[in-house]
């Protein structure tokens, strides 16, 4: 086993007392946890526990009725999604939210949009500033395409790709933005063993090589136990456990609610 040379730093994201309701339905009830810089944090729990809703809150898409989120030292209770993105929060989605009308390459290029500064006028003329920028970012995106081993499908419209590859493209799009915090919502759902191993490898590489902090929602316990540093367990919108994988695995509440006796 290779030595873990990562530096796990201070608190990057601090979630305090978040409560979120939709009308009478309480999706999240008073949940607090933190994510340390450079770590791999997992969020697990039964379906409907509020995991995706929590990620949506961090992205600024849902606005919790109570609680605060402190990211990189700044506290806020509400943020617009594009502000969150500008601050370095990346995201993949449970149901693959790729832009079906575009190719793989274009989809990943959209991830670079925050770094592209040329305006309408430059774009109209194309030669000069806009072209230079486009080429520069194209180079970066090609590096990501190499990294994720998807060169062969770069011009294919993503709607035609098999599910596993779509998820990989989505990861590429999130990586293109060079995020500090990467939120992954069930990145391995629907994949076979090989695909899962590939995905794990990519996620770990991203974490170890680029130092990106990862927060992932996942149902595959083997994966969770293998790659995460700490695990948060949610059930019915509330927190029922928070700690290292081994601690969580042995926690009776978690076993009752989610894991079952066999684990």
């Amino acid at each position: 086993m290779l030595e873990d040379t990562r530096k796990i730093g201070d608190i990057l994201l601090d979630v305090k007392g978040i409560s979120l309701s939709f009308g009478a339905v309480k999706a999240i009830a008073d949940v607090s946890f933190d994510i340390l810089e450079g770590e791999v944090r997992a969020i697990i729990g039964p379906n409907g526990a509020g995991k995706t809703s929590m990620l949506n809150c961090i992205n600024g898409f849902y606005h919790p009725q109570q609680g605060t989120i402190t990211y990189k030292g700044t506290t806020r209770s509400q943020m617009k999604p594009y502000e969150a993105a500008a601050q370095g929060i990346g995201r993949t989605f449970q149901n693959v939210a790729l832009f079906k009308g575009m190719s793989t390459l274009d989809n990943i290029m959209t991830g670079r949009n925050l770094k592209m500064k040329s305006g309408i006028l430059s774009a109209l003329i194309w030669r000069g500033r806009a072209e230079r920028e486009e080429l520069e970012h194209r180079r970066f995106v090609e590096d990501i395409i190499n990294f994720l081993e998807i060169e062969a499908i770069r011009k294919t419209p993503v709607g035609r790709l098999p599910y596993g590859l779509q998820k990989r493209v989505e990861l590429g799009r999130a990586l293109a933005a060079e995020p500090d915090l990467l939120l992954l919502d069930e990145p391995m759902a629907g994949m076979n063993l090989e695909e899962k191993e590939d995905m794990c490898r990519f996620i770990l590489d991203v974490n170890q090589e680029f130092g990106t902090t990862i927060c992932l929602i996942e149902h595959d316990m083997g994966v969770v136990m293998d790659i995460s540093d700490r695990v948060l367990v949610l059930d019915y919108g509330g927190k029922i456990a928070d700690g290292t994988p081994d601690a969580v695995r042995a926690d009776q509440n978690v076993i009752d609610a989610y894991l079952g006796g066999g684990h």
Partner: protein
Amino acid sequence: MFYRESGQFSSSYKQDQAIFPLRQDRIGVYLILLVAFFGVPLFASDYLISAIFIPFLILALAALGLNVLTGYAGQLSLGTGGFMAVGAFMAYKFATGMPDMPIILVLLMGGLMAAAVGIMFGIPSLRIKGFYLAVATLAAQFFIEWLFIKVGWFTNYSASGVITAPPLAIGLPFTSLEYVFDTSTKKYVFTLSFVVVLALATKNLIRSHIGRGWMAIRDMDIAAEIIGFRPLQTKLSAFAVSSFLCGVAGALWAFVHLGTVEPEAFGINRSFSILFMIIIGGLGSIMGAFIGAAFITLLPIFLNNVPPMLGMNLAVDLVVHIEFMVFGILIVFFLIVEPHGLARLWSIGKEKLRTWPFPY
């Protein structure tokens, strides 16, 4: 056999990103431009030019505008006619108010004014989506129509309500030298140049990050926002560019094609007609705008001329009704067979061409 890309490898990203990376496509486009700039003026009759080619070009420009908004950015708009009207009337105001302004600038200013109006009516698009937005654009359409009829300032208080467009002339500043585009051939070349330049500029926009932003908002606006696209700016830029193109088209329609500036030319029927062009031609495709415009321009002529050739003489209004029916059938047909329009059928055709004559 002829349309193969083997042997043509891009060795740089710059090559890969060219508008026409394949040599065959490039040759094709150069040929078309050659025919358009030289063949048509030399060989086509005046009637053909003024009745078919000029309206086709101008409507293609308007269709391009609508395609930017509806095809690329996914914002359904039924207000195209209104934006064209703004371009036409504001160009008229500039031409009459500042007679020394070069005609090209006049037309572009008409477009800019239309862009401003487009941005205004685009602001609701942040809250309103889909069909609801279509209704907001209808509000724009009907309001603008009413405005230009009721408010005399736009027509320079003309008593008859029919205002003649100023002549198309390019002058050398501070001299009395001027070149007047008075024949239909000259007008055609003028219009063609405008349309080609604007189409190229639009293509550049589409392949930049701005175009990607539009398509992202169209495909999944929530995901687009979460990865950093600012929805209001993206949508408004689409409205602005789209209305600019429609505005210039409207100004050209009045100045070059009609010779008069009248609100009736830009009514709700115009909006629908242009929507049909992009549905039939292909949403989200620059070529589609041209194909669709060609189709809709040629169809009435076809319907007018074919029955007599077959020996059937139909009353004029019956022809109009049949036109309606044929439009309707074609729209439904295209939506069933190829929702992405003729442009997609064209690309499928090209793909088949690659392996022709060997089917495997």
